[in-house]
Symmetry: C2
Subunit: 354 residues, 2 copies
Amino acid sequence: MTCFFNADNRQEREKTRMSETVLLSLEEAQSLSLTVLQHNGFSPAHAQAITRSVLAAQRDECHSHGLYRLIGCVETARNGGVDTHALPDVIDQAPGVVRIDAQRGCSLLAFETGLPMLIEKARRQGLAAMAINRCFHFSALWSEVEAISSQGLVGIAMTPTHPFVAPAGGTRPLLGTNPLAFSWPRPESPPYTFDFATSEVARGEIELRRRAGESIPTHWAMDAEGNPTSDPTKALAGAMRTFGGHKGSALSTMIELMAGPLIGDVLGHETTPANTEGTGKPLHGELVVALCPQAFLGSEADHHLRHAETLFDDILGQGARLPSQRRFEARERTMRYGMSLPKTLVDELNSLMN
Amino acid sequence: MTCFFNADNRQEREKTRMSETVLLSLEEAQSLSLTVLQHNGFSPAHAQAITRSVLAAQRDECHSHGLYRLIGCVETARNGGVDTHALPDVIDQAPGVVRIDAQRGCSLLAFETGLPMLIEKARRQGLAAMAINRCFHFSALWSEVEAISSQGLVGIAMTPTHPFVAPAGGTRPLLGTNPLAFSWPRPESPPYTFDFATSEVARGEIELRRRAGESIPTHWAMDAEGNPTSDPTKALAGAMRTFGGHKGSALSTMIELMAGPLIGDVLGHETTPANTEGTGKPLHGELVVALCPQAFLGSEADHHLRHAETLFDDILGQGARLPSQRRFEARERTMRYGMSLPKTLVDELNSLMN
């Protein structure tokens, strides 16, 4: 989820390893994604929702959550880990709460199905929550919170993942990499958005180091005995660390609780990826919250939203960057020049249609 | 706010410096606090609300937010930075939002005044927010989120502070130390609570090092030129760092936005402590959110709250601690043996009655 924090490094490395690239227009990439998904049994509604998410990530050069994710998505479907035709069930749970039973389907169609009710509730109540249950989740959260901020509201989203991370002071995987995303509407600019894993780094970053035969900083993870390690293979077999020590660990625990028991769903450590034996447990929950500035402030809201701009001006004015800045710059590039994908990825996606 | 993370170190150091201590019963400490506050013009309602907060912190051996805080509180009152008789104004803003105009008074009475409506709204809507405006804020947030979890709801609180912290990648103070607090109700145990500053360390920790003539780790702060420094004096004149790099910085920015412009209040960098010239701007906002498990889940809520206990069991089972564990242990000690305060502090508090 932290792709925009590390985008430069990751892209550089990808460029080095994959010099052969294919340039696709947005329409071509969209068509490729829809075809792969429908060929693998996803209903048109699911295929479209998934495509919107991976295409947005690819457009913003978040390669880790772009078309590459279709591979895992199709694998999960082939292993029976996700119902490719599930119809999300919308439950008007309380004046401020909409629950969506994803019915074992992908989270993205469930999110899109519940979004109008979430927005409507938040506008009326001031804030509202959408609890998505029993979903298969693989996508970036920023596109969801930006679907909220694009309507002028503040969006927050969180979800547990499979357990890869030890709590601070512990030595064994228990917590997920548990991402947290936030998006704030800006009057005349792309939103202020962040979306980060509560682990020290994304798991994919360790995987990339392993493939490249490189070592990792010893504060990223520990081996199976709980000792710091610079060996990515040992790290992947051990436990990752939370970012920011005790504080990141506390935040990650909060996400487990809020997107788990609070919404009647499982904890991260109760999930496992789908597998060929059919014993995986890939389903879990997601919590999305929307807050409406107009409901908090009435006609004063516009003034205060404009006033918030002074904070962004002061951040940029001292040479710091905003979290999603690189992503928005990438978006402009893509809209102008199209998407540059590694040929190996396009080949792999095409092979999913056999 | 991070007292329970650092409590051992700080207490150890305090013990070394202040070997002469005074043992007070809870009643004696309460009486001392009330007398100091009322002698300095605080109305009985404000004196009682402030006393409840500092006494809870002292009871839990959070010395930094205990009776020690009365000194700054009285100083702010003497400098005209807080209205000691303010009557908080409760505004039923939206079905899910209660706004409290603190009317330039201390945040604590405003919080207590709005709490019943916040709880009632959260129970009915599923979740609700309390926006406290124009308040003087100096207290630990954990006692507020625990006032929510003690009623069976999930509590979240955040507030900006004066600007001491540079955004990640920046070099100048802009963000507050912006604490975030969370409390989760546990069926048969004290709640799962955290309350941490989004700065790398509490500002008071750097101040303590300066007084002790000690150096600080270079990742805590930078000097006025933006260079890493191990000199606490230069750090206090420069800028502190956020915890966890870009991620902590993003979280701190979120707190500025949510407890600032979203609720129609100022940003941290627009505030300054009260001073003798009367030019200080100590007032700002606070955002409190409550979520009701029963409204999310109906009769299933109890089952899922019990299920959450497996997460805490697994954290403790691998030798890690829960964030507030030390504080709850300290509470038991205090209830048994009373409060041990440095004699110099008691003398200073008594001198405030001159």
